[in-house]
Amino acid sequence: MEGLVVLAAPLSAFLLIGLLGRYIGDKASGIITIVAGAISFLFSIVVSFKSLHSPVQIKLYEFLPLEGYTLTVGFYFDALSSITAAVVTFVATLIFVYSIGYMHNEFGKWVYKFYAYLSLFLFAMLLIVLSDNLLGIFFGWEGVGLASYLLIGYYHNQKKATNASLEAFVMNRIGDWLFIFGIIATFLIFKTLDIVEIFERVPTTESALIGLATLLLFGGAVGKSGQLPLHTWLPNAMAGPTPVSALLHAATMVAAGVYMVARLYPLFESAPQTLKVVAVIGGLTALFAALAATSHTDMKKIIAFSTMSQLGYMFLALGVGDMGGAMFHLTTHAFFKALLFLAAGSVITAFHHRLYDIYNFGGLKKYMPITYASFTVGALALAGIFPLSGFWSKDRLIGSYYEASFVWGLLGTVVAFLTAYYIFREGFVVFHGEERYKKFSEHEPQEMGAVMTVPMVVLGVMAVVAGFFEGWYMHAVGGEHKEIHLNIALTSVFVGVLGIALAYGVFVKRFLDPERTYEALKALHTTFKEQFFTEKLYHSILAAGYMSYSKVLYLVGERQFIDGIVNGTAYIVQSAGQGLRFLQAGKLNWYALGLAGGFALLAALLVFLIYGGGY
């Protein structure tokens, strides 16, 4: 029963704040959110220890009895789901604490809505993680989509934010559409939605449909995790408040796709051709997003592309068969990516949410030492430098790539180099160099209060130490423990250091003048920055094309054709009504007579059809 508390705490926080938030105030709402997250975390720890070796399935309630199958609401706790739940609630709780500081200057402007959405977000994510059937996962899936829509568009007076939220919603909708078809296909094959039963039936089921079903399910993951080709919403989602970005990118939303594939991994394993697709899409996204991140200048967008790239890594790992490694990287990534986002958010808060471009900052090292240290730890972990957590998880993944094929391994190494480069480019530009912000603001930035720095420090500690649990995690989840390949480890650390050195050389020591290099490589830079023109393609060709197509349809189809039918119908009805007016005497009993007469005729028709026509 402890498992239910994990889910109930955020849900009740959501209901409480959503219904009474106006009366209990903004700060109290935030505290309720944090307490609910903390309770959820504590109980998920308890559940993790209980279910580590013996999975528990709780059937809560029979939702809809159907012919041959009963839809139930139930939860499944095994090592994978309960550890993921613990990580999700841990990171989310820290982000909630941080958000008190981040939203502090907005208190009084109905911020309780923000906390209600955050709780809903956490609840929906836990529903995805803990549900024991695909329909429950889909419920959470939609809940996460809804909560992200609300949160990305939280600053609803900004056009940018509402556009971004709409884009996220539409892109997710494409993914969800594929996902529900995947669920239907799975149900067709296995005649059940219960994942435990599906796993039992996988070995004995021979069906050509499995490939299609897994492909469709993966389509849902692509939409939710922002992989190619449904990726454009992810960087644009940075329009929301920074805690939302951190939550979205570290623990909840985008992790859902990876988690879902890992959760259903026995199913995916039985469809090797789908795994190839997963690997190709993951690998391409990893490279693509890393290249895009090297050229962007928005503080948060760089980290967003980094998330995309790291998720690509995880999908590639899933594709080459290293499920445990992918989930472990998801866990460590949750820590250091949340850390990076919180550090970025604290820089943005220091400038009162007005500056976002990294070239507007600079030299913040001495003013914000804790933020600087946190960012550096997060960046080192992301770059995979020994002995931080990123090193252990990433190294394992790159080892798996090399085991699968040399091409994937090479791609992993290249992306590792790019990762180190772009994240330290951001770090060096923001925290070193001249103090460019003086053009924009008079006063000097200050370190944030404890409510924001403490979560960063805790996450920093986790980002350092989480890597040492690799063996334990693999043992629990059931993946095999892999020894570090020494040459691969050395290569990736070397490559990471090389990336850092390049960034250091260019942006601090200026061996290469960034401005002149920019002029020389302008075409390349634009290509990367525009994400290989995919966003333009979607916006100006697909969306705008659809708009003009709709306009043409509106003018021809709607105005001429449908309006003609509608007006004609209205005319016919009107003239018929003039004729039939006498029937509408306004007497209730006449209506009752007509009703009974019509019913009798219908029943006569039915009787005739059933017993007369041999139907």
């Binding site: 029979e62 809809l64 009895p65 007579l593 019913f599 009798a600 009787v607 017993y611």
Partner: protein, 177 residues
């Protein structure tokens, strides 16, 4: 045999009361006839072994709903209805063939349907545990969702009745002035 005789007595009682419901002029007599019909139908339920439904019929229908009708009758001046003719003659005559048609259809469906019906498997349980327990357990397991929906419908109906029946608040009058 005794059961059949009791059933026939209750049936005759119910039908006579029903005739009374649709023929009497004074609404007070009508409600008394309706009450009598409801009690007779509850009796039919008891003879058919459906104790739970019969008891609820008595409790909800014969007490709550009938009392409710009486309350409403006190709120509207039913004396006026006595003075006017209480029936529409033309509609009544017109509805007779309609009702006959309905009878015919129901007869076809019922008596052809009997032969196609399956024999229930629950009878053994009913004999073992008693009707009420079986009805309750099936109601709260298999039809639990429907049960919840019905409770919601009742709630909505209650709110709707309160909203419709209450006196308009001050704001409405403010709007009109």
């Amino acid at each position: 045999m005794v059961r059949l005789i009791i059933f026939l007595i209750f049936s005759a009682w119910a039908i006579i009361s029903a005739v009374g419901v649709i023929t009497f002029t004074n609404p007070i007599y009508v409600i008394l006839w309706l009450l009598s019909a409801l009690i007779a139908i509850a009796g039919i339920f008891f003879t058919a072994g459906a104790e739970l439904v019969g008891a609820l019929q008595l409790l909800i229908y014969a007490v709550a709903i009938a009392v409710f009708y009486v309350f409403v009758l006190t709120a509207v001046p039913w004396e006026k209805a006595v003075k006017k003719s209480s029936h529409y003659r033309m509609e009544g005559v017109l509805s007779l063939p309609l009702v006959l048609l309905l009878y015919l259809e129901m007869a076809i469906v019922f008596f052809l349907g009997i032969t196609a019906s399956p024999e229930g498997k629950i009878r053994a349980f009913i004999e073992k545990f008693g009707n009420t327990e079986v009805v309750g357990s099936v109601l709260f397991t298999k039809y639990f969702f429907a049960f919840e929906v019905v409770s919601l419908v009742l709630l909505i109906g209650m709110i709707g009745a309160v909203l419709i029946g209450r006196k308009e608040s001050q704001t409405y009058e403010d709007d009109t002035t």
